[in-house]
Amino acid sequence: MKFEYLEPASVAEAAAMLGNYRHRAKILAGGTDLVVQIRQGTLKPDFVIHIGRIEELNGITTDSDGGLFIGTLATMRAIERSERLAGRWDILRQGAAQVSCPQVRNVATLGGNSCNGIPSADTVPPLIALGAEAVIVGPGGERKVHMEAFHRGPGRTVLEADEFMRGFKIPPPPPCTGGCYLKYTPRGTSELAIVGVAALVTLNPKDGTCQDARIVLGACGPTPLRTKKAESLLRGNRLDAPLIEKAAHMAAEESRPNPGISVRAPASYRREMVRVWGRHALKNAWMKAEAYHRS
């Protein structure tokens, strides 16, 4: 696990270092995943580039279009407590609030939670549901990738060897949008999820029908998964309990939990839990959207 430790003072310096060392380097933000992987030998970087002190990578700012930009270094704690993320953005706070335990949330970063590529990451389904884009810094400048397309498989993302995450651009959710992220484990949030369900429901302000629905599953496949067939069952329709149930069933069918032996739960059980928690998450999101709609 021997490596050289580098601490760039700016984004440009970090980009230059990463451009230099590429596959031989790993970016360190909070470290709650990376440190374990390095010490256990699953990752063997020659260089560790610590970006944790680069202030411009932190913070939550409002964009000109009313959306938000969240810096990659924003900790789970900061997100969990951010007033700016109340209301229609709350689903992201819920995701961050359910990562591990308080000690980890004090240190773990939003960027890290995406970049380590763990399919059960709790902030990713909410980011996908919100339509977030990853803002990526590379040698050629910046590019944006929708979070829906960001993950390639367990531990793998679209990041090239000379790229790193600067932050997340999240468009403003439409009015009458309610969101809910539920994480199911037998033992509370300190475990990785058996299933994570992010449900975001937008109601048409005129007639209260479902204008948009996003249902995103974590821990149910090699990457977080948007269940589009389930979503389409809801879009354009008036929501009620049977329809929600149907959508949850469809989401379970679209899920792709690993059929092999799992330390957490067998695939059949995960699917069943998508049905159960998908229903709960959708209902919760719908109720929140209704509350906006009525007010």
Binding site: M1, K2, F3, E4, Y5, L6, E7, P8, A9, E13, L28, G31, T32, V35, V36, I38, R39, Q40, V48, H50, G52, R53, R77, S100, C101, P102, Q103, V104, N106, V107, G188, T189, S190
Partner: protein
């Protein structure tokens, strides 16, 4: 304390890291792959923080950094450069134990004692932030600290008692 100038290549060599531990400035010279836990225990002799798992699950390594409870087995030593760190050795003394320490004694919340330093510091961080923490808050916020001996019953009792003592008097 951290310099904002470009870092020199140091090679896979030891790094000089300065931070404040229990109110005193300390400096160590360590390989960058050492965790804060290892540095506290091996370089500074502060063996109150324990290694129960080394992968961030048991909480026995909990210390307080810049007022927040963190798991020191998950932090590389250089990440702690320039930070203020509180370990169990810096909390209270034999003559003047912190209310949490006294409560753990009075309420039999200590059995083997291995989880105890981490548990007390996690509780301190919670009570500092939420002086009115309820039993539910305590259970929800401390579930990253595992105990195998007590069944948690008297630990909760002790933290609630300390909460009440702290609520009455000046903050420690």
């Amino acid at each position: 304390m951290a310099a904002r100038t470009a870092m020199k290549r140091t090679g896979k060599m030891k790094q000089r890291i300065e931070f404040e531990v229990n109110g005193k400035t300390r400096e160590v010279l360590v390989e960058p792959w050492k965790t804060l836990l290892e540095v506290l225990r091996e370089e500074l002799g502060l063996t109150g923080a324990k290694m129960g798992c080394d992968d961030g699950n048991c909480g026995a390594c909990t210390v307080i950094v810049e007022g927040q409870a963190i798991k020191s087995c998950l932090m590389l030593a250089p990440q702690a450069r320039g930070k203020k760190i509180l370990t169990i050795e810096g909390l209270g003394s034999e003559e003047n134990p912190h209310p949490l320490q006294q409560a753990f004694i009075d309420h039999f919340a200590v059995q083997c004692g291995f989880c105890t330093p981490g548990m007390i510091l996690a509780a301190k961080a919670l009570l500092d932030e939420n002086p009115e923490a309820t039993e539910m808050d305590i259970r929800e916020n401390l579930h990253g600290n595992i105990c195998r001996c007590t069944g948690y019953v008297k630990i909760v009792e002790a933290i609630e008692a300390a909460r009440d003592v702290l609520a009455k008097g000046p903050k420690s």
